[in-house]
Structure formats: C-alpha cells, structure tokens
C-alpha cells in the first residue's frame, strides 16, 4: 500500500507538526490535516530522534540501548510507527 521505509532513510519531523508532552508520552497534531496521534514513552523517543540526520538503522540501535527489546521487534515497530507518522503528515523523508 505505502512505500516501505529503508534502514538508511532519515526521517524528519514535519514543520507543521505540533507536539506537547503528555505524561511519559506525547500528543502530536498535524496543522495541515488536523489529525492527532498519541505517542507512548517509546514512540516519543522515535519522535525525538526524527531530526532528519539520524537514519532508521541508527534509531533502532539507539532504542535497543534504551529499551529491553529484540532488534527484530524494535526494527518492525519503529518502521511501522514511522509509516503511520508519515501517512499522517507528521514526518517526512528527504533522502
């Protein structure tokens, strides 16, 4: 359905994304679409790492250091989250 996300891709937070801390997580909103996304503690780390310079592979390594998760599961979940954020217009890939 949507394009797969390569391990070398460098996701960046969209300029029109609004973010606010909520407990351990975050709430995001796209000003463009008005869509809301809630992030839990781990998803919040992905969001914070989406600086346009960090690759997906580097994100997965970093999250593996922070959380008790297998590399395969981490890669699958990070990729799925980034795909959702991309579809909501909250991150983009300029690679």
């Amino acid at each position: 359905m949507t394009d797969p996300i390569a391990a070398t891709a460098r996701p960046a937070r969209a300029d029109d994304a609004l973010a606010t801390a909520m407990g351990d997580g975050m709430v995001l909103m796209s000003m463009d679409s008005g869509k809301f996304v809630e992030l839990n503690e781990t998803a919040r780390e992905v969001w914070n790492l989406a600086d346009g310079a960090t690759s997906v592979a580097a994100m997965v390594d970093r999250l593996g250091e922070l959380f008790d998760v297998s590399a395969d599961q981490c890669r699958a979940e990070v990729t799925a989250l980034l795909a959702t954020l991309r579809d909501q217009g909250l991150v983009h890939f300029d690679s």
């Binding site: 029109d16 609004l18 973010a19 801390a21 909520m22 709430v27 809301f36």
Partner: protein
Amino acid sequence: MVYRSCRIDSAIAPAAWPCKGNLAPSQDFGPPLPHFCRAYGLTLRSDIPLDGTLAAPAGAFDVDVVEGPVPARADPVEAETLRWTGNARELVLHIPRVGRFHVTDGRRITYAPVTPGAADPLGLYVLGSALGAVLHQRGQQLLHASCVELGGKAVAICGRRGAGKSTTAAMLCRQGARLLTDDVAVFARLDPPWIVPGYPQAKLTGEALARIDRDPAQLRPLHGERGKFAVPRAEIFVDQPLPLHAVMVIERSDRATPVMARMKPAPAIQALLRHTYRPHFVMPSQAQRDFAGWGKVVEQVPMFELRRPRQGDSTAFVVSAIQQAIATIAESQA
C-alpha cells in the same frame, strides 16, 4: 457614549455660534477624558466607555484604546481571512457597519468607526475580538468558556454557540456558585493553570433570564447577538484569579439522554483547540506555543464531556452533573 454626542444646550449657547452638528468633543473641548477599567486581568485606558467592565484608578495601564487611523492590512501578512489580516504582533480587523480595528504588540487597540461618534457597538468589539487579539499577542491561552467559582476553584464550561454555557453558569450561580467570567476564560498562568476574572456582566438569552428571575425589559439587547441581553452580575462576581479545577465541554448530541464522561488526553486537547476563543488569531508562528499550552492544561486539569440531547430541557442534568463531578474531584484531592 453620552459624552460623545453631548450637545450644547441651546438655551445657554450664544445665538451667534454656528451649528457644528454632532461633532466629537475632542474638536470642541480638547481630548476626552480617558476611561480606566479592568477586564481579563488587564487595565485598559480607553477613549470610549467599555460597558460592563470594572472601573480602575487613573494611572498605569496595560492596553491603550484610542480612535485613530487604521492601516488597510497588517504588514507583513502571516495569515488572513476576508475580515482580517495579521501576524504575531499585529492584527487589522474589519467589522462591517461598525468599524476597523488595529491591534498591535498586545498593548494598543486603534479603532476607526464607520460612523464617527457611534460608540455603542464599538465597545463590544473592543472587549470581544480586539481584546482577544491583544491577549493572543500577549501569548495567553484563551478559551471560549464561562467560568464559575465552586468550592474556591474555577470551573470552565465551554461549548459552541447555543450549547448553553452562559445558561449553565447562571444556573450554577443561582445555586451558590460565583461568576468568574461569562464568555472568555483567560489563563493567568499554566503551571498550574489559573483563570483571571473577566468582567461582571453576562450575555443571557431571554429564556436564561427567566430561569434566574430577571426581566429582559430592564436590560439592554446586545448588538450582533440576537436574542441576548447584557446582564450586570456584580453581585455574584469573583474579582480574583482562581486555580482551574476542571473543564466541562458541553456538546449537543442525537442521543435521547444526557451523558457525562471523563475525556482522554488527545480528545481533550482537540476540544480545547476547538473551543479556543478567536482561534484564527493564533498565528502559525504561535501555534506550537499554544498547542503546548493546552497540553499543560490537559496534563493538570481533569476534563469532562457532557453530551446533552438537542431537544428538551437538560439544564438540570447538566448543572447537577457538574456539581457532582466537582465534588468527586474535591474528595479525591482531599
């Protein structure tokens, strides 16, 4: 209003004076005395009276309201509609048949009336949209809500036009609550959230007036708000900022029975954005600050959604549901 149309009594005016018609007094007698008043935590100095506000001593002020030239557009234009152009520091607003307003730096409202000397609806727009722009420029969070004091804390009641905010607030006040603000809830601070007092006046429909035993014949109908009256509420007004206890969001629903539910964070932020006062005056460059501000509110203040049927009278349910929710929160915090 009265002094702007003051005429010289013909009985005492010398016959030789040419008739100048209904001139502004500034041209005859020098500048009019400014009015000093308070609303939403700000002291205003205004050359037109602002009906319903609290009087303030002459002296220091936060916002100056003066008649004067208004530019055609804001410069630069960061956002615009047919009625206004703006950026984070400046807004130019056109109100058809009333006048144009120029709000700058969160400190000054300059107005140019369509009809010189016609102060009546002008003051309403100064206290409404123009002051809303002032407060947005000052970086404050604004909610289109009535606020009452219950148990020493503020309860904000928001909803679309016709949801019953003011009526609910009036009924709560009839049962012992006091009025903090009728139309706009302005946050004094966010850590923790506090609400500043508005001014001691409510906008109520004839139906709401009947509920609190007031006679509309004694009251002034409001310009641009059909069927609503300006009701002085000094006797139940709380003139001090209060910590925010809870936010109630009233929605009309197709269900036959009213229900109340605690809101989750994302829908709660969504509701606060939906019920922001003059939301379009939050410029794109201010949107992140505003959004994070609502996030802080939702993190600290419980929010409830009250769905009431479109048909029938559910006022009693809404009032008692709010009272019960506040009592429950107070118990859990005790």
